[in-house]
Symmetry: none
Subunit: 204 residues, 4 copies
DNA sequence: CATGAATGAGATTTCATTCAT
DNA sequence: CATGAATGAAATCTCATTCAT
């Protein structure tokens, strides 16, 4: 193993330890010393590789964001309604399988973490592509941001057992809310064509 | 002025100073000492009256929550569509008039602050009464929580000039999203009757 | 004992402990924690009273500076030559009696410690008054600063046993160097009248 | 280029970078990593070549000390008064041309830096040779140390514009103070013959 | 010779909270 | 009620130095 590879491995070790801890405890409750200890490295190494605790946190967040993004189905061969439903189900399943991670890191509001916002916007952009809409149009962007936030809220309540619905029901609720959001986009920007999308979304 | 009145006045002074500070700075950035200094009282008084910094914060939050709640129109004489629209407009106008307060204290996600959640639930309950729906039904509760979160997101973007829509457009977008949320409630709970409400909401 | 008096007493305790430590160890080697422990108070109290370790250090330095200043004899009834000699002897005796204090805190160069410089200037001003010269004249100021530095150097060497001269010899050497410095002032500023002073200084 | 030559060149690169940094920042503010970066070499190399940060600092200091020493004129053909004046002028000119270097590295008190003290003693020894005096005699050594310190003080004030005198005036002031110092040596050690030297110094 | 990853001891300062007066 | 002195735990980040490659 080369020097560089060893270093990279150490970096990963720290990253993994940090992820583990940030999932189970809040940012403030996780101490840099804890991370170093969990990773089995010297205290200072955390800062050598990531500059600051914040920097390390950001990296963890981004890594998770990318993982979540990759869950989405974008195969154009699959009909739109099915595609979106599959994506949603995959997303929800992932969150259920990683409950703490979801509650503590993923399902946080817009604006709470700068770098994560970008990941979220990437998610919306992907959704937009699937829907055949232009994310650069303010109305589209605005309602998708609303929708994502609302979906996170429903997912959060789901994880907290705040309501009794199963995954399939949740997915259908999301589809309906998404439809409402798209109609809201047309309200703000009448030139927007959403009927066809609404049609396709309606078909499971 | 009686002993008790003086005490109450002091309490208010601290509360006002705290509110001012929590509006402009984050919770962690506001120090108990800052509040005491701003209020012109002894450091220890903050704890004398409010037990802890958290306790004081909660009081500030609740006071604001109550103010916001009181903005809502519940006059049954006003047609439903108009009533909800007026409430929304009043709410948005208030947030615009208190930008920092809105961004830093009001428009935070569910779960961020325990006591504020209750206020928010109260708001949803009020909305429910207006809509003639039963907040205790899980489907209703779930979609209203989604809706509120989504509405906050749109308001936040509005305050941050992230989109170009005016207050009237925002209100109409919200109405449309609310309609979508109600349909989503029916999806989860088919026994739910929402057609009449949807009808009334459609009429401005 | 009143509240304020207790507080002042505590402050003094910290100050005394700090002085003790700064005399025997270098600034960097003295830890804030050491001072608190030595004073028998909580760690945080140091900062409550002095703001920072630097602030505390400055106070210690100033207190010592004032003590040293008070050693000087300014009784006009005493002939000038005798007066200066007595002051020098008192100064040297003090430094010898407080060897570490002298070497570590007093005999440091101009510019090493901002607040101490002011004290030193005060000392020179006092010397000036004794000599009947105007400290505001650049030539006077410049040579007195030279002289003070040189005197500190000789004192330092004396404390370090770098030369075999006794206090009386050292005092006479200083008188001679002071005479040289005054002549140097006249070189820079020929309008300066120093002959009478030189005359008086020559008489013990 | 041979292996050894490359190594020497690298060493020089580090030395030059260190000098640059120590001139503009204080010892504590210069980090070993800064030096390595500025020199464009690996962090560890600093220690490879110089053992420690202190060691590197010492080398920088000595190099500068030697440069300053070489400024002094010792040509016996030049009359003493002229020789000393030329040396002083050269010294001052050098300090003026390297202001930060002078203030931060050269014009520091005796005892501040072990290795530099030796250089300073070398300087005094040289001066002694010029003056035809024996540096090993305590009185001579003592007053020359005083004189050097005083001269540094005047130079420091000069660099800081603390007085309005030009280089020629400063040189003459120094000559006068030097004369005073020599007389002080005779005070401490009456067997010392300084009249001839004083005579020669008086003639420019 | 050169590299830079790894070490790990360490210190200042902050601040919520308490409590004697 | 009001005061503000006193407490003391705690945590981030720094940095000289080492050493395996």
């Amino acid at each position: 193993m080369s020097r560089a590879a060893t270093a990279a491995a150490t970096r990963e070790k720290v990253l993994a330890a940090a992820r583990e801890l940030f999932i189970t405890s809040s940012y403030d409750d996780v101490k840099a010393a804890d991370i170093a200890r969990a990773a089995g490295v010297a205290h200072g190494l955390v800062f050598h590789h990531f500059g600051s605790k914040q920097g390390l946190y950001r990296e963890v967040l981004c890594a998770i964001g990318r993982e979540v993004l990759d869950l989405h189905v974008s195969d154009p061969a699959v009909p739109l309604g099915k595609r979106i439903r599959q994506s949603h189900r995959a997303h929800l399943t992932y969150l259920l399988a990683h409950r703490d991670l979801a509650l503590n890191l993923v399902l946080r509001p817009w604006g709470a973490e700068e770098p994560f916002d970008r990941v979220r916007d990437d998610g919306n952009r992907k959704l937009c592509e699937n829907l055949g809409l232009d994310f650069e149009r303010p109305a589209v962007r605005a309602v998708l941001r609303m929708y994502t936030t609302a979906a996170d809220q429903l997912a959060r309540d789901h994880l907290l057992d705040a309501h009794p619905f199963d995954v399939d029901q949740v997915v259908e609720m999301l589809m309906t809310v998404l439809a409402g959001a798209l109609r809201a986009a047309r309200v703000a920007d009448p030139s927007l064509e959403v009927d066809r999308v609404l049609d396709e979304l309606a078909r499971p």
